[in-house]
């Protein structure tokens, strides 16, 4: 029992597992399925958090349609590795970090957990940056909005009333679907967009490499990989459930890509076309929604940011605390009392406090934080992806679900792409 909100949305879970276990028939009823969002969709929608939206906006504003292909690759990578994470969780029924420690020993386990915690701390900071940004759009100081959100999120997650509120966050973050409409209304050059999706080309500049790396890091976020796996373990999903879990994972991942696509296209057709080629504050990013919302664009954007940030900020510390306790012994969750799981609550608290405090530093550059944390994500992805790759081909752990030769090749290719991006990014940073 890990994630409070999952336990508390028991009804939803039961429906989901009834469907995955094929209570009525093996047919997947799409309508019913969409009514109950699974973990893949949770992870997918949470990927379109303030950091994701900002990164995609910047990509569209700076490079218009030209670098859409980085999103295509990122989405493809997201689908494959989320799918792998789900499979590892179902087959081995172990959390990612515990499994890495078992298979690769103490050093690997600690390296994996440190990577994950740093990445999650970064992303958590980005969520608070999103809240601060949205607050500023409404005219509230970050010294008010950030502490209130930190307390609110902790309170909701640790109290059981989270289930209802979570739905509200979902609806709020669904505001970003507005980009789909805004995309059409801004009359983008579809032909150029299509060309940008399939033709990998980029200027070899500092900015281009940075934003490409951030796009990878925000789409294929480390926490999502750990989350989907621990979800499958925690819900005791079996091999029979795998089919529907995969549908869910693919849907969620594709959704991330689709929303990302429309964000980029909208920003290309509005911001970039009108000369805004570098986003430095939230008001600029929000301006992309003007064709749809007119003067309300700012409000729409801010509401979306708050919803998505709160949603992700309530899952992130839980997922992180689960991984840390998984390293040390058994994974724990909010179902455990404080004296039973001090490590869990300590991780939860420390992560939330540090992330909030970082944002409260006077003059903290919010937009920069939103993007740089995603670059950090990409760097920290590397060890995690390599461990997942190692586990995927281990016959003793995965049995008949072990990755085939072709799949291993594809996994390695993705890891190589992330590696190249990170190397190029480091090159431009230090030389």
């Amino acid at each position: 029992m890990v994630f409070s909100h999952e336990r508390k949305v028991r009804v939803r879970e039961v429906e989901f597992s009834e469907q995955v276990s094929g209570k009525d028939s093996n047919k997947i009823r799409i309508g019913a399925f969409l009514a109950v969002m699974g973990p893949g969709i949770i992870a997918g929608l949470s990927d379109d958090d303030p950091a994701g939206i900002t990164t995609y906006s910047q990509l569209g504003a700076q490079f218009a349609y030209r670098m859409l292909w980085t999103l295509v690759i990122s989405t493809f990578a997201l689908i494959l590795f989320q799918d792998l994470g789900a499979r590892i969780g179902v087959v081995t029924r172990q959390g990612l970090i515990g499994l890495v420690r078992q298979k690769y020993g103490a050093r690997a386990g600690l390296l994996a957990v440190v990577s994950l915690v740093l990445a999650n701390l970064g992303t958590m900071t980005a969520e608070f940056a999103g809240i601060a940004t949205a607050g500023q759009l409404f005219g509230f100081s970050k010294y008010i909005t950030v502490p209130i959100s930190a307390v609110l999120v902790s309170f909701l997650v640790l109290r059981s009333s989270f289930a209802r509120v979570e739905k509200v966050f979902f609806v709020l973050s669904a505001v970003f679907f507005a980009y789909v409409i805004a995309g059409f209304m801004s009359h983008p050059h579809w032909g150029t967009a299509l060309h940008g999706m399939v033709t990998p080309s980029m200027p070899l500049t500092h900015d281009a490499v940075y934003i490409a790396t951030a796009t990878l890091g925000t789409t294929l976020a480390p926490w999502g990989l750990a989350f989907i796996q621990s979800y499958a373990v925690d819900k005791r999903l079996t091999r029979d459930d795998l089919k529907l879990l995969r549908v869910d994972v693919w849907t969620g991942s594709l959704l991330t890509g689709v929303i990302g696509f429309f964000v980029i296209v909208t920003c290309a057709a509005t911001l970039n076309a009108h000369g805004t080629t570098n986003i430095t504050d939230a008001a600029q990013a929000a301006a992309a929604l003007k064709p749809l919302a007119g003067t309300l664009a700012k409000d729409l954007f801010a509401v979306g940011l708050i919803g998505a940030a709160l949603l992700a900020a309530s899952i992130l510390p839980l997922s992180t605390a689960y991984s840390i306790t998984d390293l040390m012994g058994r994974p724990s969750g909010v179902d455990d009392k404080l004296e039973e799981a001090p490590l869990f609550y300590a991780t939860f608290g420390i992560l939330t406090v540090i992330a909030a405090v970082l944002i409260l530093i006077p003059g903290a550059p919010l937009i920069t934080i939103l993007i740089v944390t995603q670059i950090l994500n990409a760097v920290l992805l590397l060890p995690l992806l390599l461990y997942m790759y190692g586990i995927s081909k281990d016959k003793r752990l995965m049995g008949e679900f072990a990755a085939t030769r072709n799949m291993r090749g594809i996994y390695l290719a993705i890891i190589a792409i992330v590696g190249v991006c990170v190397a190029a990014m480091l090159w431009f940073t230090f030389f």
Partner: protein
């Protein structure tokens, strides 16, 4: 389903137990000076050179094989050594000395064999180190940070498990620093249930007998804390009756998940041993085809009985009753009834017997006390009389059952079919469970996080 009555009490005793253990157990082998001073860290030993009698390098240690048997502390039965890129097995009898820095063999001529896993053996690095183990004294699931070997009874044996974070961090350091044993938080191997391959076959280990002394509710907590294969290995390790008792104490959704992971035969065996009403409650929530495959693996008679129970709505008397009844005929003797009670003393229904007439119709429920007071040769018909038990039909609504309980202040109600034949009983605790579930109260031990 949880039976913890006083919230917080279990965890307090847990903490107390852990503290007690860290202070040190006097009877532990770890308290012996000879053992304490000769501890060798397994994590530190892996990768060290294996040398022959004259000190020439043969290869590097890859893993240590131990044999689980009746011994509390499993002896080292062999080494897996990497010799020129090939992994070979060296029999443990050839070890002449084993220190933290190297292993010396007793001859210069070495037989290298390929390693094959054998029943009752496990590999310390691959199967135990960094894996989940159950700390039976502390009632918790932990990961082992290190294992310690020491000479004991003429063999090198695993004596302790290190579970500290410090030892985990120690292993990060390079060179000799990572090898120095740091046995501050070591659990005696005797109080550990290792779930590694091969250990499950041992029926006599002391950890197993320790496990059998735990309360089913504590076992249920441990089962819930384990993951994957370790969880199945743990259940496999318990005596079937105890495993069934523990399962009854598990959260419904946890238990469902567990059953979905187990083979149907194993699930069937466990469910057969559980109280029928508890089994039915779980089976009712399973997917149709899964439930069907479990039924097929069951004893036909039990399956038939459970099918009937499952078909009842859980909002009705039939849905919460247990079908376990001790049925006697009025012409039976008191001695027969008492014998029946003794035979079923493990069950929670053995507070009395149900008496029926020649056609199987309910006459009375006779308490143990009445039977004990009567002459052994007396017929049960002579004991029939007021107070008569309350009876309801299976389709009685839960609220009406509650009302009957309230009116009669008895400890149970008999469920009869349309021909007045007894088909089940509802005990007060079944009713409490059913009502608790209905009202959404899910027991104190479930917890809603720290603030609730």
């Amino acid at each position: 389903m949880k039976a913890t009555v006083v919230p917080g009490i279990t965890s307090v005793t847990k903490v107390a137990k852990v503290t007690q253990r860290l202070v040190g157990r006097k009877d532990s082998v770890l308290a012996r000076k000879t053992v304490r001073e000769s501890l060798v860290s397994v994590a530190g030993l892996i990768g060290r050179p294996v040398r022959d009698l004259e000190g020439r390098d043969i290869g590097h240690l890859v893993d240590i094989v131990v044999r689980h048997s009746a011994d509390t502390y499993p002896p080292v039965s062999g080494l897996i050594v990497k010799v020129e890129k090939r992994k070979s097995f060296i029999n443990g009898a050839r070890i002449s000395s084993l220190t933290q820095d190297e292993i010396r063999l007793s001859s210069t001529k070495i037989n290298l064999e390929d390693f094959k896993r054998r029943e009752g053996e496990s590999l310390l690095d691959a199967d135990v180190l960094d894996h989940q183990i159950v700390d039976v004294d502390g009632l918790r699931v932990v990961r082992s940070s290190d294992l310690y070997l020491a000479p004991l009874d003429k063999e090198i044996r695993v004596v302790g498990v290190d579970i500290s974070f410090r030892s985990l961090v120690r292993r990060l350091f390079p060179g000799a620093l990572s090898r120095r044993p740091t046995p501050e938080h070591v659990i005696d191997w005797a109080t550990v249930a290792s779930l590694a391959d091969g250990t499950g076959v041992v029926r006599t280990s002391s950890s197993r007998s320790k496990l059998s002394q735990l309360r089913p509710a504590d076992l249920a907590d441990l089962i819930e804390d384990l993951e994957g294969r370790e969880q199945e290995a743990f259940i496999e390790m318990l005596e079937p009756e105890l495993a069934a008792d523990a399962l009854e104490e598990m959260e419904d959704d946890e238990l469902q998940g567990l059953l979905r992971g187990l083979p149907a035969e194993r699930s069937a065996a466990l469910l057969e041993k559980m109280e029928p009403d508890e089994s039915a409650e779980i089976l009712r929530d399973l997917a149709d085809d899964h439930r069907e495959s479990i039924f097929k693996s069951m004893d036909a008679k039990v399956a038939r009985e459970l099918r009937k129970l499952v078909s009842f709505d859980e909002k009705l008397a039939g849905g919460i009753m247990t079908t376990h009844l001790l049925i006697t005929v009025e012409t039976d003797t008191v001695a027969h009834a008492l014998k029946l009670l003794v035979e079923n003393r493990e069950r929670d229904i053995s507070d009395g017997v149900v008496v029926v007439d020649g056609r199987g119709r309910l006459l009375d429920h006779i308490q143990v006390v009445e039977l004990v007071a009567a002459k052994p040769t007396a017929l049960l018909s002579t004991l029939i009389g007021a107070p008569f038990p309350t009876a309801v039909t299976p389709d009685t609504k839960l609220e009406d059952v509650v009302e009957e309980f309230g009116n009669n202040r008895g400890s149970s109600i008999i469920v009869i079919d349309e021909k007045s034949k007894p088909v089940g009983r509802i005990l007060a605790d079944d009713l409490v469970d059913a009502l608790a579930e209905e009202s959404g109260y899910r027991g104190a031990s479930q917890g809603n996080g720290v603030l609730s």
